[in-house]
Amino acid sequence: MSQDARDAVGDYRYGFHDPENATIRFDFGLSEQVVRDISELKNEPQWMTDIRVKAFKHFIARPMPDWGNSEMLNSIDFEKVCYYLKSSKGSETDWEEVPEDIKNTFERLGIPDAEQKWLGGVTAQYESEVVYHSIREDLEEQGVVFLDMDSGLREYEDVVKQYFGSVVPYSDNKFSALNTAVWSGGSFLIIPEGVHVEMPVQAYFRINAKNMGQFERTLIIARPGSSVHYIEGCTAPTYSSDSLHSAVVELIAEEGAHIRYSTVQNWSANVYNLVTKRGVAYRNSTIEWVDGNIGSRLTMKYPAVILKEEGAHAEVISVAYSGEGQHQDAGSKVHHLAPNTSSRILAKSISKNGGRSSYRGLVKVSPKAHNCKVSVVCDALLLDEDSRSDTYPTMEVSNQSCVVEHEASVSKVSGEQLFYLMSRGHTEEEAMGMIINGFFEPFTKELPLEYASELNKLLEMEMEGSIG
């Protein structure tokens, strides 16, 4: 790692990178031909090629968002991004078949170990393609489908054709258009009616190459009365040049289904993370986004739920951690379209060393949505005077019977709290780490234990050497 890069990102523990052994690598830059080449390479049906090209044209025509962090957004050079890079022959179901260096990477990240101990299924994506996927036999026997998205398109073309872009159309925003044009990899998950997947399934996303663009596409369909907990993790090496991660995730929770989607985003500080995540919740179903943003230079991400039918429930718990040079612009969107729907948003952020966290939220209650319940709570914690926190909560309530609760707070770590903890034998850094872990506790307690302790360790490490 160059000194520049070290200075830029501090002690990011996943910042190692492997030699790049590409089997296919596209030249930098984006054009209609690049889009067509990706589609052709994947041997896709014509309709998918057509959507990609339309999306590309929309991406070009659509202006950059003028909100969030325009300065950072406008500094992205789309001509200096590699839009497709493949480092393996295909997606394996046995780690032994995965190329040695890639396998080593995922071993360092603890994925095969976690898979054995507590996961129901795993996909691992490296650059543009999923290199490994597997699912427990018992889940497969119950009809659970867990594939990478490209295999999903090949094996379940009708399903993909029906749902692809139905929740997040390419025209939704500039980056959903970009993703639709150049998507590659991601997860395809179907839970059959009445099946409860007890162990979480996990997708892991790794960017290894410099100036890489990763554009995975995920579709999860929970049939009536089913349930699943899907977890994604992401890391990248530390480079002084930038990478771009722009995913689209679509969830469909049918009647009485329950989807929980947990993210621990820990990109290195040279990654732009611009992601569109949205779910549609049908009658009496629940969609939960548990969304942790620790890394990246700029994240703009607002997991959304459309409460389409009566009795549907949305739950969004998010935390954001912004250190030096980082901006986490995160939040949530919920649309109440039906009566007796409810939503609860809890957003917590910590800013340190000049980092910036923003909560940006939108809750819409349509005129027909009687007796809805909405709760939005935003808490920000500032660790020093240089850091910044902003809250942009928007509520558009068009039905008088709706009960809305909204609380927002900004606080600082008090000297008295630190003194109290230090008087119990803890150093100032340890004390700060404890306060921070406590602040994020409403989030971490929703994660599987293994993830929660990993996250706590991560935050404690962020505190090391940070107090002078």
């Binding site: 109290y420 903890l421 119990r424 803890h426 404890m434 872990n437 406590g438």
Partner: protein, 265 residues
Amino acid sequence: MHSLMKGILAPHLENMLTSCVLSISDLHVSVEGTVVIKGLSLEIQKGEVHAIMGRNGAGKSTLANVLMGHPDYEITQGSIHFNGTPLDELEVFERARAGMFLSFQYPQAIPGVQVGTFLRKSVQAVRKDDCPNNRELRDEMKAAMKILGVDNSFLARYVNDGFSGGEKKRLEILQMLLLKPKLAMLDETDSGLDIDALRMVADGINSISDDAACLVITHYQRLLDHVKPSHVHVMIDGRIVKEGGSELAIQVEDKGYDWLEPTNA
């Protein structure tokens, strides 16, 4: 120590030869430019229980805070030694690890941090030399919680978050029992307690090791009915104006503080 040697050795060397836990010499302390302690000297030996009494504003809590190392308090003159070590060489956490403990008048809430986790981490930080394993610690916790009349659900709550006054003080004493300090300082631990809670907190204080020294800060004598002090000091306006045995606490209870005012003396 032989009386002939007294005064020949430097104070901290004297401390090393005796069982002196805390030695304060001519201490002056100011807070944000205001002088609050104006020349205070005090020695506490192993096993002794000292009470410092005085009205609000006499400088009692300042003394507790300065002993523990609160950054807002500045020592302008004098010295403090703990087991022979000059205190100004020790950071707050090092004081705790060396065996000092302060039961706070206003314990801080740490939302999201469970009492059980906090106790375990604190024991691990402070009792490095005789750190109990998980099982031993669980047994110690059980025994201490029994004395204080708190049940297991206490451990799952967040530190002082939404606690009543009595619960906060119980948690302070619970920490004290588990951290096994050599010097326990209790700042107004009796305030805001009902009679049952007071008795349990007193039982907790009385059950610390006979070797430990104890400094009880209070502005009334209630707690001293249950925790017998070997020495009582009365503090007025930043100085100790009167010293005695436990009978002094009773005199103060009867007569108040006015008769001890320097101008009336």
